[in-house]
Amino acid sequence: MSAVQVVVAVPRETREHERRVALVPAAVGKLTGLAGLQVRVEPGAGAAAGFDDAGYAKVGATVSGEALDEAQLLVGVQPPTPEQVKRLAEGAVTISYLPTGAELPLVRALRDTGRTSFAMELVPRISRAQGMDALSSQAMVAGYRAALIAAERLPRFFPLLMTAAGTVPPARVLVLGAGVAGLQAIATARRLGALVSAYDVRAAAAEEVRSVGADFVELDLPPLEGTGGYAREAGAERAARQRELLAPHVAAADALITTAAVPGRPAPLLVTEEMVAAMKPGSVVIDLAAESGGNVAGARPGEAIDVGGVMVWGGRNVPSQLPGQASALYATNVANLVQLLVVDGALAPDLSDEVLAGCCVTHAGEVRHAPTRELLEKEGG
């Protein structure tokens, strides 16, 4: 290890309910091997995800309580604390989820200490950046879990079974929001034999839903296409109309899984309390968007509440339910991003690259992400 090696620090995640870790040993090995970096890991960083310190040591990482001190690159799952940021080296770079709207103080700290910070959720959804796309990789975990939890909580069979003791009809599953998580939920529920239908506002969604074998619910509403492949927020009137048209579909469903989101905005309210109440007793609602406002009225993150006999399960850090594999996927995303940052063994982010430009929040004392900058300016810097 020469003195000029870039030091990458992996903190132990401290936020509640976070069981993932930003780099798993395999990813550490990839970075030290390919990019020639030095990796330092806080003790117990991978414990909750099933990776012990010895595993990190074996691939050449230093396990140390001072891992963050003077590190040039911090890679985390959740955003670092302002205190952690201060411990880093001058001009250090951070990579993590960074929901800027909710983390304005942190953004200020990053800007004011001259850190360069990248937000994983801002990686553009373009083909070449898919290897760094943590939103996708974690949404896949969440979608799979959503379907599985629905199947496990529903006091009925998912599949159709014709038996000597009578026929068990298949469960009806409705998925609202057919992005990455929604599609995975559809596919998983279909595997289990449920009758699955789905709705989404994007124009491409119908074909995508059918491409995983489910029925698309045609509502005869105009599509809501945003930028970068995302959806746009619906006006109040259209939202209400959509709820109205969806009501009978919701009422007919045994299990409802919602995943709708619009980037940078609270999750759209797709299902009202009345719509839940109209479902059969014993039905199950899984709201993956519960943390960001909820698609379902009354859903509470991390809780399963009973609404007139219907169980409403609100997701909270769902990927942490499969912490090992979710971490492995996230770590690959991070490692791919790190490889983009490191040129000839040195940290040299090329901010003219579309991908880095897209996900860079602060750099050289400036906030580069326009919406965040505007937010800060509104709040008075």
């Binding site: 599949p159 014709m162 038996t163």
Partner: protein, 456 residues
């Protein structure tokens, strides 16, 4: 009498019609049109011969034609479907007789050279054999005669002698044999035909008819040679060649060489005593046959069972259903509640193969449908369609409701053998006259069916 070139051209056209007819007959899609083209050709030929050639004795000829045609037409209209094969035998026989008569008359009254005389003798021989053989075949199919092969001590010597005598007469004739020999040749040949067909087993008679059909084709071709008529040559050869091939194909479909079928009985009477094979007869068929049954049905109900699971043939079954549906055939799946080896076994399999749920019918709702189904396709199932459940008190399945597959117009089983299913009891339905068996692993069989249905 060799017509002018206009007539010859017309005859050529008739020959072309016949070729087109045979072409058409080789696929169910075009068979009827083909037959019609052939008939049109025949009409053209008759018109030419009567109006253009204007034979002597026109009225007598016309009368003979009208009588013969009327007999043929009435017979063809009246015959019941199941008697078709013997009808074909009769038609074939009279055709052979006509050819033989031509040659005999030409020998007696004409002035042919040696070569032509030889061919004429050959024509008489083969035509007479076709005639008498066909008549015996007819008698046996019509049950005017026992269906069992008739074997007597020394049968092969008798046949051998008769053959030798006939051939001798046939050879002597052209090289200066006396005219009465013609009569002897006719008599000997007729006898030969009888001796030829008598020892053939009842089930093999259709193959013999096909062979005799080829014979009468050759008779026609040979008489064409005698009369120097290309149309007869071409038409006769067509029939002779296709009949020969057809005989081979039919024997192949029965899994036996032609010679074994024809001369098996001479080989020591071994087929005489053995009644075991007809003890519990089943009808097995090739994938092509089953494909035609399916491909020309209106409504097919699939009844899958444990064998589908063993063969992991669920994807193949769905493929077949898709192929049938593409042909506009109504297809559904009858799911017996205990099919397979675990509750919902068929559901798991068919869901894996992406069969839409609405195609799966519960037993109670599908059972009334079988009556209107053209084919019940039983894929690796056995107990769940075994009528013993209704009729055999004391059997381990007595009283169990079963799929009413036996009510379908025809039933096809895809299984590997005649072995019973889980309950270990025989299935009468396998021996039903409406039932056809396609032996083999269900996945293989279904694969073949898909291919064959596609090529219909």
């Amino acid at each position: 009498m060799t017509g002018d070139s206009g007539t010859a051209l017309a005859y050529l056209l008739v020959a072309v019609c016949f070729i087109v007819a045979l072409k058409g007959l080789s696929s169910p899609r075009t068979a009827r049109v083909g037959n019609a083209v052939g008939a049109a050709g025949a009409v053209l030929a008759v018109v030419v011969i009567l109006l253009v050639e204007r034979p002597d004795r026109l009225l007598a000829v016309l009368a003979a034609m009208v009588v013969g045609g009327a007999v043929g037409a009435v017979a063809a209209r009246r015959v019941v479907m199941t008697a078709m094969p013997q009808m074909v035998a009769v038609f074939n026989g009279v055709g052979g007789a006509a050819g033989a008569t031509i040659a005999a008359l030409e020998m007696v009254e004409g002035t042919p050279d040696t070569g032509r005389l030889a061919v004429a003798a050959f024509t008489v021989l083969i035509g007479a054999v076709a005639f008498s053989g066909s008549m015996v075949a007819f008698a046996r199919l019509q049950e005017l005669m026992s269906g069992r092969p008739l074997i007597y001590p020394g049968a092969r010597w008798v046949f051998g002698l008769a053959l030798a005598a006939t051939v001798a007469a046939g050879v002597w004739l052209p090289w200066g044999g006396p005219t009465w020999l013609v009569g002897a040749l006719v008599g000997l040949s007729l006898g030969l035909g009888v001796l030829f067909v008598l020892p053939v087993g009842g089930a093999d008679v259709p193959i013999v008819i096909s062979l005799l059909n080829a014979f009468s084709g050759i008779t026609v071709a040979a008489s064409g040679y005698v009369l120097e008529n290309t149309l007869l040559i071409v038409a006769g050869t067509l029939v002779g060649a296709s009949g020969t091939l057809l005989t081979r194909l039919m024997a192949k479909a029965m899994g036996r060489p032609v010679t074994n079928i024809l001369f098996g009985a001479f080989a020591g009477g071994s087929t005489l005593g053995g009644g075991a094979e007809t003890d519990r007869p089943v009808r097995s068929a090739s994938a092509e046959d089953v494909a035609i049954l399916l491909g020309y049905a209106r409504k097919v109900i699939m009844a899958p069972g444990y064998g589908l699971a063993v063969a992991q043939a669920q994807h193949a079954l769905r493929d077949l259903a898709g192929e049938l549906e593409r042909r506009g055939i109504e297809v559904s799946y009858a799911i017996h509640p205990v099919a397979g080896r675990m509750p919902g076994h068929m559901n798991v399999l068919l869901a894996e193969a992406d069969v839409p749920y609405d195609k799966l019918k519960e037993m109670d709702s599908v059972n009334p449908e079988f009556k209107t189904a053209d084919v019940a396709l039983v894929v690796g199932a056995n107990d769940v369609v075994n009528p013993a459940a209704r009729s055999a008190p004391g059997s381990p399945i007595y009283g169990m409701p079963i799929l009413a597959a036996d009510e379908a117009k025809s039933i096809v089983f895809l299984k590997r053998s005649l072995r019973p299913g889980f309950a270990g009891i025989e299935n009468e339905l396998l021996h039903d006259p409406k039932t056809t068996l396609l032996f083999g692993d269900a996945k293989d069989s279904l694969g073949k069916l898909v291919t064959s249905v596609k090529s219909l």
